[in-house]
Amino acid sequence: MDPQLTSIIVPTEEITQIEECLSRLVEDTGSDYALLLDKSGQVISAKGDGDRQDITALGALIAGVFASSREVAKLLRERDFRASFQQGVRENIFIALIEEQWILCIIFNKGTHIGLVKVLTKKATDELASVLERVRQQHKARDEVLGSSFRTSMEDTIDLLFRD
């Protein structure tokens, strides 16, 4: 099967490690929020203050913005466009790419220095890159994770929900 078509399966141990990494990043930088996104915009993990209701839309937007800024980079023939920084009045956002697959995003306010965010993000992206590497290495069959009847159950759900 085309490797591009198979899903990315993130096992429990790796999720735990990702969560620890994000929590540490939030704590050490004094940031408000850290998010790990798949390049498709899906939220893999989020850590920080309070319950954000808008996290799904936030993930879609940040991934979109990041993907389009990379297209800008290509047009400028810029090879290494792996991080971006957006400065707001209250909140700042720092975004870094992990191996073309994941996006790490840190939301922080005036109380945190961007320099610290950059340094600690670099450390975190290295760590997350090795987690990603392990996720890619493992070849669990889909049926092992989802169960063999998943597909038929899914088709029933689709028929039920998307019905004229």
Partner: protein, 210 residues
């Protein structure tokens, strides 16, 4: 690429509506948003110009609930169809698990459909996806616009009826746009026929590739 989070028992899939400007991609999402029960959908997020043309994307998260213990979510996106936004389409297509190609059935839009489909094939290729095995379904939209004809006299004097505008016959569209033999559905504004049919087909195609 679909994401399966084993710890949180979640599955995420991304479906992108692609096609030329004004073909009806945003309308598809608006209709879906209007029909799906409240507990299964999030807000429809549209980043559009003042004239309601998509500028970046539309985004609609759908929650299918628990299936065999897995919380399953589909994220639906549209690309901006205008030629100008080619690079934005590349960005939105990034990481898609399946594509609905919405074609505008009108005669005068045939070339735009062809250009858009060709661009999609190239963009998928650039993402290392094989267009032959990647989940794609077609929707021939605007079936409700009636064809107009004119009488012409050929050089040999015979008279012939020729279509000047309106929706092309489905077999004509098939011939030009569906060489790959994808599942194709008819859409049309009036009763929004075909919208759910299309969504069911692409959802199942994506699930079968998980």
């Amino acid at each position: 690429m679909a994401l399966i989070n084993v710890a949180r028992r979640e599955i995420h899939c991304k479906i992108v509506y692609y096609g030329p400007g004004m073909c009806g991609k945003t309308s598809n999402l608006q209709w879906i948003h209007g029909q799906v029960p409240a507990q299964a959908k999030g807000d429809l997020l549209s980043i559009a110009t003042e004239t309601e043309r998509t500028l970046f994307f539309d985004f609609l998260p759908i929650d299918l609930g628990k299936v065999r213990g897995f919380q399953t979510r589909f994220h639906l996106y549209t690309v901006p169809g205008q030629v100008l936004y080619e690079r934005t389409r590349v960005a939105v297509l990034n990481g898609a698990d399946g594509v609905v190609f919405v074609a505008d059935s009108q005669l005068e839009k045939l070339q735009e459909n062809l250009n858009s489909l060709k661009e999609l094939a190239q963009n998928l290729k650039n993402q290392n996806k094989k267009i032959t095995s990647f989940p794609i379904v077609l929707q021939y939209n605007k079936r409700d616009i009636p064809p107009q004809y004119e009488e012409v006299t050929l050089t040999d004097g015979t008279r012939k009826r020729r279509q000047t505008s309106g929706a092309l016959a489905v077999d004509v569209l098939d011939k030009y746009l569906n060489g790959a033999n994808w599942s194709a559905f008819r859409g049309g504004c009036a009763a929004r026929q075909g919208v759910f049919e299309t969504l069911r087909a692409i959802s199942k195609a994506v699930i079968s590739q998980l």
